[in-house]
Symmetry: C2
Subunit: 388 residues, 2 copies
Amino acid sequence: MVKRYILTPGPTPISEEVLMEHARPLMHHRSPEFSKIFIEVTDKLKKFFKTENDIFILTASGTGAMEAAVTNSFSAGDRVLVASAGNFGERFKKISSKFGLNVISLDYEWGDAVNPEDIKKSLDENPDIKGVMLQFSETSTGVLNDIKTVGSIVKKYKAILIVDAISGVRASDLRADEWNLDIVLGGSQKALSAPTGVAFISVSPKAWKLIEKSNMPRFYFDLLSAREASLRKPPQTPWTPGISIIVAMNKALDMLFEEGLENVFKRHSVLTMATQKAIEKLGLELLVKDESKRGYSVTAARVPEGIDGKELTGIMRTKYGVTIAGGQGKLKGKIFRMAHLGYFGIFDAIIAVSALEMALKDLGYKFEIGAGITEVERVFMENNYLNT
Amino acid sequence: MVKRYILTPGPTPISEEVLMEHARPLMHHRSPEFSKIFIEVTDKLKKFFKTENDIFILTASGTGAMEAAVTNSFSAGDRVLVASAGNFGERFKKISSKFGLNVISLDYEWGDAVNPEDIKKSLDENPDIKGVMLQFSETSTGVLNDIKTVGSIVKKYKAILIVDAISGVRASDLRADEWNLDIVLGGSQKALSAPTGVAFISVSPKAWKLIEKSNMPRFYFDLLSAREASLRKPPQTPWTPGISIIVAMNKALDMLFEEGLENVFKRHSVLTMATQKAIEKLGLELLVKDESKRGYSVTAARVPEGIDGKELTGIMRTKYGVTIAGGQGKLKGKIFRMAHLGYFGIFDAIIAVSALEMALKDLGYKFEIGAGITEVERVFMENNYLNT
């Protein structure tokens, strides 16, 4: 028997309570029973984003929500600015190009954060930019972009701000309205810790003005159809939604609010810090060098010289039952990514670092065995928000 | 306590076995454990469609698969033929128009079937038609189109044939390859009886030729990306899929093959016949007049004069706990639709008709109470395939 642990940045571990809700016999999506849950989830997702903007639930993975943001907001030929510091920044560029947008890109080293001043400069130089797109947490590197500052800049221009917060929101604090975020994207399978397959998108009044003017062909992800369906009594989705996922999300949202969003954030930050200090204690180098730019969803670290990243994560998975993520795109094989995201507690951090230690030892890497997990314990006890 | 039964044409009743699989802790979508299931499900879906064509799993509801068929196969300005005999035929027209296609439509009364000869005539008159789209089972009326004949016609032209078989396949027999169907759409939540949120699409070599030439902008539903991901070792989806739904589908597919596809078809046909004879016994009129054109997924019947359809289904749901569907589009309030689809047995048919009887009685409709359920029993016992 190998007992299995999934410690990746989506899917995340899911609580038994949420899985039990997920397994309830399905309600019909036009029934009053489901409508009640649908209204509740929509309201809770507003609190999840800290927004009073409209929010829509899409049955798709996060990439579908990224496409929805692009095809609803713009028309072919529109100029947009994409700030890219990793694999998901590149995805915004690909989607925008596919749909015929005129993309200006700000590219950063993978591991660096987006510099908000560059966005300001680009907006000043290109007054026809209709939208700015970037990630909150860039899942491929673990960097956290300073969206608050970006929001304070973009609000002064006619451009709207589209933030892919899928892996970042609620592991790190995000305040959609206070920070002036026009379109924010989230997913069921990250800090929310529900099963994969549903995404959600918030839309500000400033964004609606663009959406109402956009002539981009779209149907399944059309937000005007979603708005129309949401205004029916009772509110609905335009097409059959992922019912069992939305029901699971309702329970997962309750659990987050019961814990308290502030505590959720503290939990993620302490477990991130403990994991990162442990990795450094093992002599490994974190990908995001600037500590102040590290997010609380996932930690990326470079694989030691002479060791193949794929072999490292392979041993962790097959021999010890612990699934973490490898590098994406140009970082494939060069880094590993350990999430501390969602239904994730201190012993998940211990398990992740313990499996890492044993696999590194198996591969002949030299370090003091136990140093990492000892550091996790030490940092956790020093910073445990439950003690304060 | 009101015990609840969901007897709608999607979502359908789901077996406890499938719900338990659905509630398993999530596997990572790039792990060997999930890859094994993903390969299995893809292979089983080929048997489900009776095809050796490529098949792709999309995380979306059926409407997303309809959009995928349209945006992958054609380019803006292409001429297509849509044969529409209900709400979902209309949806093919709407999607095609949204994406700039030049739509020729063959429109039929809701309750009638598409006449294959009309398709032949239209193809002869318009040799530039690139694709023909229609439903197998039109869920809004319960009619079953003669796709076999349509397939034998369209194969002689350069046009491809796109069949929305979402609610029809495996309640009624469908043979994608034998019938020359180029693109076939299916969903997780119909005869397959898994939760909502996943669709699938098969693609013939003739369709691939069009897809490779299409210049329609698309990203999330791009089948070339799906094909590329499916050719990786191990095969993958391009984006994070609805993992827990696919895992549930694997179990649901096993159950169908264990029963045997021929028995699945017989079960659906006997329970449909029993339900339809019972409804007629109550003095109600079936929407599809021609018995030979009725499918085995859902039965639509006209609400008796003086009774409001919404009130009828409302009483069935609130007072007796039985959810069936009402009319869609222009049939709203005028018909009710009772499914006999998926994980559905003789006593589900009894329950549906019994709740109908009691609600009709509550609304003052005059008939002999018990006549319907007696007829269900009688027809079932006369035709029970398990006895043969």
